[in-house]
């Protein structure tokens, strides 16, 4: 049976990642059109009642590798390669994220297949899957097909919507022997939250700060601007979080949070895809950037080309003056 296999990422408590559930729903939809089935792989000792979420989202079968720890890509490649080889799966599907990229690429290499990343849509054509992959800063969309071998599709963050179908999945526990090199990395700590536990998800207005702020101190100006709104907060890009300028809890994007406030005001942010995916659904997007070619101007509702050091303090004063 030529089906679709999904990697279902979960946290240490066994709660599945929303994008993984989206990938399961998408796989179920596509499998329906192809006349086949969608299955999922769970790595780690996740309890049956938690695993049930995958069936509820459309998987008919779940392979669980209890003896393998989740969180690193290469052991997951071992597990998925075995399931795919034993079960004859044609496609592997991943929700957005980082591990999916690593596992997907490794799987394609191991099983001599093809891999397409950043996929925003998948359709069925003539009994095969066609992946839509935006390229060149989203200026074109390439339709990609797979020509023999395993087809690996790694979705863009939030590309696939999680939908409960109310089904249930049969769980099969599998034993997988890890390859020698997969055991050569050790996950020392996982999911460390760096910096303060700020809450940005409830804010109506987010002032997003990026590398253009120049230094950690630069965030002060964003905080002052955010304070002029009744329910404002400050968000950040990965670039500045990795540099230790702002807490991880405030990060927007692929490996951060997804938000949709009434207003997202981006200050000194280039608008890389991995940031865009976390904030593109904001109702109104304003961007201040000194580079007229910055990608953020492609999707801002109001783009201001200029120096943030001049504009942001003046804007803050003007809003304060309005009271």
């Amino acid at each position: 049976m030529a089906g679709i296999l999904v990697y279902a990422l979960h946290d240490d408590e066994g709660n599945f990642n929303k994008n993984s559930l989206g990938a399961v729903s998408e796989a179920a939809r596509l499998a329906g059109e192809l006349g086949t089935e969608a299955a999922a792989v769970v790595i780690g000792d996740v309890a049956d009642d938690k695993v049930a979420a995958l069936g509820a989202h459309g998987a008919t079968k779940v392979f669980r590798a209890k003896n393998v720890a989740d969180g690193l890509a290469q052991p997951a490649v071992d597990v998925m390669a075995k399931v795919i080889t034993d079960g004859g799966y044609d496609y592997a599907l991943f929700g957005g994220g980082l591990l999916g990229l690593e596992i997907g690429a490794g799987l394609a290499a191991r099983l001599a297949g093809g891999v397409t990343v950043e996929v925003t849509k998948v359709k069925v054509d003539g009994g095969s899957l066609v992946a839509e992959r935006p390229i060149l800063q989203d200026s074109e969309i390439a339709d990609v097909t797979f020509d023999g071998g395993l087809g690996v599709i790694v979705g863009r963050l939030n590309a696939f919507e999680a939908k409960e179908s109310g089904g249930s999945a049969a769980i099969e526990d599998i034993e997988v022997e890890l390859s020698d090199f997969s055991s050569k990395s050790e996950l020392v700590t996982r999911g460390e939250q760096r910096g303060e536990a700020v809450d940005i998800e409830a804010a109506d207005v987010l002032i997003g700060g990026g590398r253009g702020l120049g230094e950690a101190e630069g965030f002060r100006a964003c905080e002052d601007l955010a304070a002029t709104f009744p329910n404002g907060a400050v968000a950040a890009t990965r670039a500045v979080v990795d540099s230790g300028w702002y807490p991880y809890a405030a990060q927007i994007g692929q490996t951060g949070k997804t938000v949709a406030p009434k207003l997202y005001l981006a200050v000194g942010i280039s608008g890389a895809i991995q940031h865009k995916v976390g904030m593109a659904s904001s109702e109104n997007i304003v961007a201040i950037n000194k580079d007229e070619n910055a990608p953020i101007f492609e999707f801002a509702d109001l783009g201001v080309i200029g120096d943030l050091n001049k504009i942001v303090p003046a804007l803050t004063e003007a809003l304060k003056a309005r009271g």
Partner: protein
């Protein structure tokens, strides 16, 4: 100990990018440059060599592509020598095929560490490290923003979906570094002058023992069958700041119109 750094020639950021409708590949005829993200991998290699803990004797840079110019730029940062994989048979290779070809060349070099950047500025697949590692059967991690030598292993930190992960990786390994890991140096005049004299080893697919049927367009399992424009989105309003008081006034009234203030 030997470090190999993988680099890529990409279209210059200032040059407009377009797809050649005939081949459905990126038109690479314009000005090109060393992929910015690779400079962080070069810098990381130089720092590991200078640090001394690993006893790095040699840093070798490797590229696949028609032009060797990018290798000269790369060695001007102080690297020791370069390997250039060039062959018409490689044209049109997708990520998996490119990774396979690079891995074949790396196999012959037998490095203790392979470093690469977090992404190429043109292909943006973020996946090359994982493909290369799989073929070399080495442990691997991508998007690493902190890397320390500890007990002969690399202690790496990177952000994944739940926050920061710390991973101890045994050597030999393949590591892709994020752009926050370091501030790349500027090449010194002496190194720029010396770059031309550093050895370049040019290899064809046959020299590298690559099966030509597994690379290039023929060996690539992904096929681009069509290119379409993205759904039209209403263009935003753009203002250029010439007089900041007037700019701020425009922003404020824009926000007012939408009842955001």
């Amino acid at each position: 100990m030997k470090i190999c750094v993988l680099v890529k020639e990409v279209p210059d950021a200032a040059a407009p990018r377009k797809i050649d409708p005939g081949t459905m590949r990126l038109d690479r005829s314009g000005a090109t440059t060393l992929n910015e993200f690779d400079k962080h991998a070069i810098e990381a290699a130089m720092q590991l060599k200078a640090g001394g803990e690993l006893g790095v004797d040699e840093v070798v840079v490797l590229t696949m592509g028609p032009n060797a110019k990018v290798l000269q730029t790369a060695v001007s940062y102080g690297l020791d020598r370069s390997v250039h994989l060039a062959d018409d048979a490689l044209a049109g290779s997708d990520v998996a095929a490119t990774g396979l070809a690079l891995a074949k060349v790396l196999e012959a070099e037998s490095p203790d560490l392979v470093l690469l950047g977090q992404q190429s500025d043109d292909g943006e697949c973020y996946a090359m490290g994982a493909v290369v590692a799989e073929h070399l059967k080495m442990p691997s991690l991508t998007q690493v923003v902190k890397m320390d030598v500890e007990g002969g292993k690399l202690r790496c930190e990177r952000q994944a979906e739940y926050g920061y992960d710390t991973v101890a990786v045994s050597l030999p390994a393949v590591i892709s570094v994020g752009d926050a890991i370091n501030e790349p140096r500027y090449p010194g005049l002496k190194d720029i002058m010396g770059a031309k004299k550093k050895p370049v080893d040019t290899k064809s697919t046959a020299d590298a023992g690559i099966d030509a049927g597994q690379v290039g367009e023929a060996g690539s399992k992904t096929k681009v069958i069509a290119l379409n424009p993205p759904p039209q989105k209403e263009a935003g309003e753009i203002i250029t700041d010439e007089d900041t008081a007037a700019t701020v006034e425009k922003i404020v009234s824009w926000l007012e119109e939408r009842k955001l203030i």
